[in-house]
Symmetry: C2
Subunit: 342 residues, 2 copies
DNA sequence: CTGAAAGCGCTAACAT
DNA sequence: ATGTTAGCGCTTTCAG
């Protein structure tokens, strides 16, 4: 038993117009008189008509789908950073009448590994890549000539349309905040230093110090290319304190690293913020539950996703395949893990 | 400039057969001779042919899509519990040649709110619901007569196909472990007690105590219907210790609650596991990074998703619309937060 | 075991 | 401003 849903023919018949007219109304193409539009729209509502995706796709050579690619590592991150970005993309996709097909990819994509299924099967009109993905995969994707936008990552050797966080500015904001609080020995710790977002935060840190005529001390910079985990935050802090005893403030590459640092500090009887001020980056939603709540740089993750989808739709609909870029702003979220130095 | 991809016609022409035959081979229907099959398959590979989803959908009245519904609260949870379930679903969907459309819904779905878009537009062949979603939404979904499977939740007033965690057994395992370690005053704490998964864990707890002839002391049970957050774990533990001073072991409704409990215990100078043994539930991936690493009940989240998708495909392909249920097993994951009582 | 042909529901030229 | 109509690429009877 199959329920029969109304088709464009039913709408056309009921509204006394041709299917072409209904189609034109749906896609607001052609010049249709306001009365006809109203009439057709009313009939559509009455019949609860929804155009068939398959039929539209077949006739128009568009799928109405967007592919969303993220590494499973990133997607499973505890801070739900990319999950939020996805939510923003999904939200905006809704408004533009797209479905989003989410797929995760391994972070060690090798020659011969197959592309995401929706690419091979051409089931998408455009691709959003969230965060760093393997270079080879990205290159192969770009070769497909499918509209593509990268979020929160800049590939090193070629240009792509992208939406980025203003990481340098974030780094400056965080560091200036600590400088304004009277700190001089400000450390920077992080993992994944080869991720453009992280290295940009470090650049912001250095620039802020420079601007305030504070000498950059490499012994205060403790980075690695390890995964951004609490554990690695813990270890980085450990290494930092081995080299350096007189740190009074730490700027962590992201919140997870900061939480790791927090644990190290607690375990070693440093009081935050009395002994050490600590600033994170990302504004993970659980930060405010920490003791003390973490001062951090707030990143509008949902907005990042929204902007990314808009950019992609833009590219899909435009003739010229220009490379377009957007930067989303960040701001300092003042909480209790930082304190003026006495 | 549009790249032209091969169609079924191209395959048919190159293989010297009709398009019907190619179609039959693709869907392995009809009785085609092995040689023909081989020939067609070879041609498909040569041409890198992928059937068009739209065309298939239009002709067959199937979409090849599965809808995945989860509340945004659950999806954004820090433990990535439902993210992992989704990954399992996606993985298995791949094998069955389905795409998964993920949508989040608010946890306060009200009368008049619209159904997920893919339901209204009939862009899916079946639905997977992950975790508790609003009753009204679930009811409306069921009325649609679309194949549906619920993961990790039992609605109270009607029957649905579902895949559940063996929560009762998990509760028994956790509690027995503590009993075997010589604990008598074993507490149970949790939030979201109206979620069937949590209340079942409590049932397991009670049953294990019963089986060991330990009297159930309501003062040792501290539950609420608050969200499963670290903060609420902290508070629950606080309330527990106000009522009760001689607890030696705590079984927490899930790992997040357990981490909150851990913080309370640390803040109040209880040593884990020397003073208090602590068991969680879920096996969130970050547990092993805690100090001490958390003993917990391991839930195979990916498998849960895989099983759910299999069940759904089963229902989609079967004539009789029987209600089917699966239970995924759990096991005790022994780490360092529990210790025999001296 | 294989093929011919009639649609599936929509879009997009082209008419009018 | 609206209608006519030929496909889009596939599945699916029905014949042979």
């Amino acid at each position: 038993m199959q329920i029969l849903y109304p088709t464009i023919k039913d709408v056309a018949a009921k509204a006394n117009v041709s299917t072409a007219t209904v189609s034109h109304v749906i896609n607001n193409k052609g010049r249709i008189s306001p009365e006809t539009i109203k009439k057709v729209l009313k009939t559509i509502k009455q019949l609860k008509y929804h155009p068939s995706r398959s039929a539209r796709g077949l006739a128009s050579h568009k799928t109405g789908n967007i592919g969303f690619i993220v590494t499973s590592d990133h997607f499973l991150k505890t801070e739900a950073f990319y999950t939020r970005i996805f939510l923003g993309v999904e939200f905006e996709a809704h408004r533009h009448d797209y479905y989003v097909l989410l797929t995760t990819t391994k972070s060690d994509f090798k020659k011969g590994d197959s592309l995401p299924r929706f690419v091979l099967e051409q089931s998408i009109d455009g691709i959003i890549v969230a965060g760093k993905i393997p270079k080879l995969l990205l290159e192969t994707l770009c070769e497909q000539k499918i509209p593509l936008v990268i979020l929160d990552y800049i590939p090193k050797y070629f240009e792509c349309s992208s939406v980025l966080i203003d990481n340098v500015r974030g780094g400056i904001l965080a560091t200036n905040h600590l400088i304004e609080y009277g700190h001089k020995n400000i450390a920077f710790i992080s993992g994944e230093i080869s991720h453009s977002s992280i290295s940009d935060r470090l650049r912001g840190y250095k620039q802020a110090l420079n601007d305030s005529n504070i000498e950059i001390d490499e012994k205060l910079i403790e980075t690695s290319d390890d995964y951004l985990s609490m554990q690695n935050g813990y270890k980085a802090t450990e290494r930092l304190f081995k080299k350096n005893k007189n740190v009074t403030a730490i700027f962590a590459g992201n919140d997870t690293i900061a939480i790791g640092a927090m644990q190290y500090l607690k375990d070693n009887n440093f009081n935050i913020p009395n002994d050490i001020s600590l600033v994170g980056f990302d504004d993970a939603e659980t930060n405010s539950l920490l003791t003390p709540p973490l001062t951090t740089i707030q990143v509008p993750k949902i907005d990042l996703g929204i902007e990314g989808l808009q950019l992609l739709v833009n590219i899909i609909n435009s003739e010229n395949k220009m490379i377009k870029k957007s930067i989303v702003p960040v701001e300092l979220k003042l909480r209790e893990s930082t304190k003026p130095r006495l």
